[in-house]
Each structure stands twice: as C-alpha cells, then as structure tokens.
C-alpha cells in the first residue's frame, strides 16, 4: 500500500507548507545526536545512594530483595527463598553458563532447562539481569540466547540475579545499553523493565498480584556492601 504511504506523507508535507516551514534539518541531527532532556534528581542519584534507592523502590513495587556475597552462594539463597514461599525446590534456568555452572544440586535443587511454555507454568525461573534502575526499582532484561523473554512472563516466581555494580540511576542509563548495539540487528529484540510482580486493578480498582505474569519477583543482589565494609 505505497499509495497510502505517499498520501499520508503528502498530507504531512502540505501541513508543513501551511505552517510556512519545511522539515527542519535540526530534526535529523536530533536523531543522530540526541540532546539530553530534563532528568529529575531521582533519576541521577549519587553512586553511593543508588543501591539503597533501588532496594527501596523495588520493595515499593512489591519485590523482595536478598543480599548475597557471591555468585557461588546464589543456589543457597534461591533454596531458602523457595522454602519461605512453600514452593518446590526446583528451578528453570536459561542457557547461561554463569548460572548453570553453580552448585544447584549441592544446594538440594533440581534444575530444568525446559523452556517450553507448558514447562514454565507454575514454576520458578532464575535469570540474570542487565541492570537495576534505582529511579523506579525496575530490573532491566534484554532478550538473547541467555534470556528467553517468556522466562520472565510465564513462571509463577521469577528470581533475578543482579550485581550491585549493575544498579544504575535512571532510564537514561538503560538506554546506553540499547544504543551500544552497532546496528538494529545487533539491538536486542526485547528490552524489558520489569517493575515487580504482574498485577491488575481492573476490578473495582482493587490491586491483585499475579495477573498474567509472575506472582512474585525476588531479587538476589550480589556483592552487597557488607563485604566491602569488612576491614581489609
């Protein structure tokens, strides 16, 4: 329907002419070098405040957060969380060496790499994240071989493994990731900012968790400052 395209652009051009100005060259340069916009103070916290702000905001969104000194201890933390949730000691992992190489079995967990949609129903997924957004408390994930998007949507419980130094200030810091791709093929298909469990308030404005996606979202924060604060 290129006829439609031509007709729509002709009408836009006609409106531009009526306004007495052709499309400005500044628009093109705006796309090439995006000018910064107003960023509120909460979107650019001082580095030492970002972690606490992120934890506060994530909890406000209905997440739970646990600190964890190192990657090696992640399975234990996951196990403890599942006990607390009265859920089976069973997790689904993506194809991600960083996670699959950990001692899950030793921690008493059974691991599955089945990521078909039926296998995910009612289950627990554990995935890495690319960033934690301090401004909102949301966790950023990007689709890849290591992150099937459905792992963050279909299970009942989603556990994110996030390093403290991956916590960033505001949206602008996440966009850097999208812009880092050299071209649009290199860009991730999906960039999701997940702000806690799925929810709805569509019946009488009553908030109910677990609308379509995970009912609980748990964040395991690695390299918490307790380690850093230990005297050398």
């Amino acid at each position: 329907m290129s006829d439609a395209r031509n007709a729509i652009f002709a009408k836009i051009k006609a409106a531009d002419a009526k306004r007495g100005k052709a499309a400005a060259p500044e628009a093109k340069s705006r796309l090439e070098t995006p000018p910064p916009q107003l960023v509120p103070a909460i979107g650019k916290p001082a580095p030492e405040e970002a972690r606490d702000l992120f934890i506060t905001k994530a909890i406000e969104l209905g997440c739970t957060v646990a600190d964890c000194p190192s990657f090696e201890e992640v399975p234990e933390k996951v196990s403890a969380y599942l006990i607390e949730q009265e859920s089976p000691q069973q997790v689904i992992l993506p194809v991600d060496e960083e996670l699959s190489s950990l001692g899950w079995l030793a921690a008493g967990l059974s691991v599955s790499a089945q990521t078909g949609s039926d296998a995910l129903d009612g289950n627990t997924s554990v995935t890495r994240a690319i960033a934690g957004v301090a401004e909102t408390g949301a966790v950023a994930v990007a689709s890849s071989s290591k992150y099937p998007v459905s792992l963050g949507l279909l299970p009942d419980r989603h556990i994110f493994v996030l390093k403290v130094d991956e916590i960033t200030g505001g949206y602008e810091d996440v966009w850097k990731v999208a812009r880092a791709a050299k071209d649009n093929q290199g860009m991730s298909r999906a960039l999701n900012l997940v702000g806690g469990p799925s929810r709805t308030a569509d019946i009488e404005a009553t908030l109910v968790m677990g609308a379509h996606g995970p009912r609980t979202v748990h964040i395991i924060l690695i390299g918490d400052d307790q380690e850093a604060q230990k005297p050398a």
Binding site: K21, R30, P40, S143, N184, R189, A190, R199, G213
Partner: protein, 476 residues
C-alpha cells in the same frame, strides 16, 4: 469509527440515576485524581517535565514526516515491516491479510485504543478469526459486548458481582462450574483461561504507547504483562498504532515515561515498560518470527495545521477524564464514542464528523480542570470551543440555542438595554427566590428557565451587579 454521540443527553440522564455506576465513577472522579496528586507532588520536577513533554511534542509534530521516515528505516533494518493505512478500512484489511498470510486462527490482543477506534475486533471476528482481548478490563468488556468505559480503566464501572456473572456464563465452556465472587479469585480465573489462549495463539496484536524514531523500537506499557506475552509467544506480532505516537529519541521517551503512569494511575512506573524491535534474532531463545507495524492515519493528518493539531500530543493517560466534572458524573458510555471525556470531545469530532459528535464538545462546563492536569498541556477547552464554533458556523446548533445566543449577542451590543434587562431579571429572580442554608436560590423558573430548574437550583446573583460595582470604581 461508529459513534452514537447524538444520544448523549438520554444516556447521561440514565447514567446519573444509575446508582451502581455512580459508585464506579467515584474511582475515576476521586481516587485517581488523589493518587495522581500524591505521586506528582513527590516529584519536584513534575511540572517542568510537563513543559518538556509539551515542547518535545510540538517539535515532534512540526517534523512528523522526518521522524516517521527515520522510524520506518530503523524498523526495516531490524527485519520488521511497516504498513501504512489511510483509513480504518485499509488498516483492518492489512491486519486481516497478515493473519491470513500466517494461516492464523487464534488471535490474542493487548489493549489498544486505536484498534477500538478501527473496530478491528469486529472486522476480524466477522472474517472468522477467534480474537481474545487479554487486558483484564478489556477482556471483561469484550465478554459483555460493551465499549470501553474509560481509556485506561475500561471496566472500572462494573462491580465485582457483575464481573462474576459475566465470568460464570462465559467460562462454562472452559469447564469452570463454580461461581466465584472474590476479586482475587476472579483475577485467577481470568489468568487460567487466558493463559491457554496465550499458548494457543497464532498472532499477537498490540498497540504501542510510543514509537522511537531514533531506534525503531515500539514501547508497550502495562501492569499485567499481557502486552509482553502477546509480543512474545505467538509466531507473528502485529502492532497497530497511530502515526502521532512517534517520539524522536530515547531521551525524549524518558520524559514521557516519567509523566505517563503518574498522570494515569498515580504510579511512579507501570510494572512492565518494554521496548521491542523487529522479529526474533537468530540468537534469540524465543520471540515472534515476524514483526509488522500498521501505522494508521484515520483522520490524524487532517488535524495537522488546524486549530486541533495540539490534540495530537495526547498520550492517552486519561487524567483529563478523571478531572472532568462531566465525565465523572455521566461516565464513558454516555459519550457514544470510544474516546470520551475532554480528550474524546476533541478527538471524536475530528475522527468522525462535527455533525455526529456535536454534543460532545458541548458537554463541558469549561472549568479548565482538564487542561490543568494534562501532562502535555493540551488546551482542551479552547479546542472544544473551536468545535462549538464549527458547529455554529455549519448551522448545526439547535434553533432555540442559536436564537438565544443571537439575542444575547444583540443585547451585548446595546449596553443600556443589557443593563436594563439584567436588572429586571435580577429583581424577578430575587422575588421568586428563597433562602436556603444562607444562600438565595431559585427552585422554579418560568418560561425557558424551566429547563434549568427542572433538575437543579439556580443560585441568585448577589447585589450589586458587577457592572454597577465597576461603575462605582469598586471593581477593576
């Protein structure tokens, strides 16, 4: 877009006497504005962000062609396809063809006002497809065969009891025999039924809250995650949206993300803010095989360069509906258009026609609350006035009203007669009025005044009149 706005008065009357509906309207009229106010006041830069948002949109609309071309190029680079549609017929035909191409049978949809405007569901269902809405509110009204009550809360006018009845009837075919009333259980039931629909869907149709020209990404914002499921599980993802949704850059997008949820539901952020670009890549573990975007004009370019161009800044937050004393009294269905409240009163005449939608821009007290809360500062009252002027110019205004306005204008041009007439009216009013709770009110007026006092009292103006005070130098 089919509208039934001619029946505004009858519908409004029925809505006002519907007690159940009035309970629902409390959510929009009171709860949402309070929540908006609470979160907005926690962000010191909120007002400045509104200014930025307005300025970005102005620049955006001035260079719409440039940004749409850039967006198109970036989408194609990512392996997506763009389809342009001048009208709702063209848009619906394109979507139908895309579904046919995919040999689809089952379609899931995430809430989209543009597809409501196009009446896309009716079109696809008419062609034999199974189309299921997945936003809980939209799903409920789809089952009830209603139109959305509000652009953000489509089913918030219903009670849990009504939803329970609807689910009980509709879910029998899914083997559910128990009637549940509890809200948590109702949500759970919808989750179970819709989960199966998601898994069996061949095509996912979503709208888009924003399109980013810089990167070719579409932005989907929900609390339920249903848009992400629709964009991820089926083998084909179709995005249907309006051309005005394009924003230049990701930095510009941030400004809108910071004001949208706060204005809409009083949240600091919605739970799922997602950016999608193209179909699944070779390295991806999931995602659709194709990614098509239908960019819809349907009257939008006709608004460019006209006094209602600024309406194209709208980001569909619904704040103006919640702030409007008319909407929060008569509700969405009275408007007879999928776009209701102040924004609907401006959009509907532009998309349908001035003659069929004339009642809507008149359904306003011009209190200005809508403009006060609009995150992109759209001058809604002055645009409603524009449509009223158009209506008057086209001789669509009822003769009684024209006659009255004519008389008023004539009096206004003859100050001594005007002053005499208002003095007589003032004396007359005081004669027939009585004092109630310390205020002079008239409860029953003669002649055409009956139309006013049949349903409300008239406050009698205090003495002396503004004009006589002005003459005495007491008012300037």
């Amino acid at each position: 877009m089919h509208i039934t706005s001619e029946k505004f008065q009858e519908n409004a009357k029925a809505a006002i006497s519907d007690e159940q509906l009035q309970t629902g309207l409390f959510i929009f009229g009171k709860i949402f504005p309070l929540l908006r106010e609470a979160t907005a006041s926690k962000l010191p830069e909120f007002e400045a962000l509104r200014d930025s948002a307005r300025d970005i949109k102005i620049e955006n609309l001035n260079n719409l062609g440039t940004y749409l071309e850039a967006f198109e190029a970036r989408v194609e680079e990512a392996g997506g396809r763009i389809h342009w549609a001048r009208t709702s017929e063209e848009a619906n035909t394109i979507v139908e063809r895309l579904c046919e191409e995919a040999n689809a049978k089952n379609i899931i949809k995430s809430k989209s006002m543009v597809t409501e405007e196009l009446e896309l569901n009716d079109h696809l269902i008419g062609k034999g497809y199974n189309v299921v809405e997945t936003d809980l509110g939209e799903y409920i009204i789809q089952l009830r065969n209603e139109k959305p009550f509000h652009i953000v809360g489509p089913a918030l006018h219903l009670t849990a009891g009504q939803v329970s009845d609807t689910f009980y009837e509709a879910h029998k075919e899914h083997g559910r025999t128990e009637k549940v009333e509890d809200k948590v259980k109702l949500v759970e039931e919808a989750r179970i039924v819709l989960r199966e629909r998601f898994k069996n869907a061949d095509v996912g149709i979503t709208g888009a809250n924003f399109l980013v020209a810089e990167t070719g990404q579409i932005v989907l914002i929900t609390n339920e995650g249903n848009a992400d499921l629709s964009a991820t599980l089926p083998k084909r993802h179709i995005v249907v949206t309006g051309i005005e949704k394009v924003v230049p850059t990701l930095d510009d997008l941030s400004v809108f993300l910071r004001i949208l949820a706060r204005s809409a539901t009083g949240q600091e952020t919605s739970n799922y803010v997602s950016l999608y670009s193209g179909p699944r890549r070779a390295r991806d573990a999931d995602g659709p095989e194709s990614f098509d975007i239908v960019l819809v004009d349907n009257g939008r370019t006709d608004m460019l360069g006209t006094p209602v161009e600024e309406m194209l800044r709208c980001i569909r937050c619904g704040a103006c509906l919640n702030a409007c004393p008319v909407f929060t009294t008569v509700g969405g269905q009275s408007y007879g258009s999928v776009y209701s409240g102040p924004m609907g009163a401006v959009w509907t005449p532009a998309l349908a026609s001035v003659s069929s939608a004339a009642k809507l821009p008149n359904a306003s007290s011009f209190c200005g609350k809508c403009e006060e809360v609009c995150p992109v500062r759209i001058p809604l009252p002055s645009m409603m006035r524009h449509w009223r002027e158009k209506e008057f110019e086209s001789h669509l205004t009822p003769s009684g009203q024209r006659w009255g306005l004519g008389l008023w204008a004539w009096l206004g041009k003859h100050p001594s007669l005007y002053s005499a007439a208002t003095n007589i009216a003032g004396v007359g009013l005081r004669l027939i009025s009585k004092t109630r709770r310390g205020r002079r009110i008239a409860t029953s007026l003669p002649f055409i005044g009956q139309g006013w006092t049949q349903s409300r009292d008239l406050a009698v103006p205090s003495e002396p009149t503004f004009l006589s005070q002005y003459k005495d130098g007491r008012r300037r």
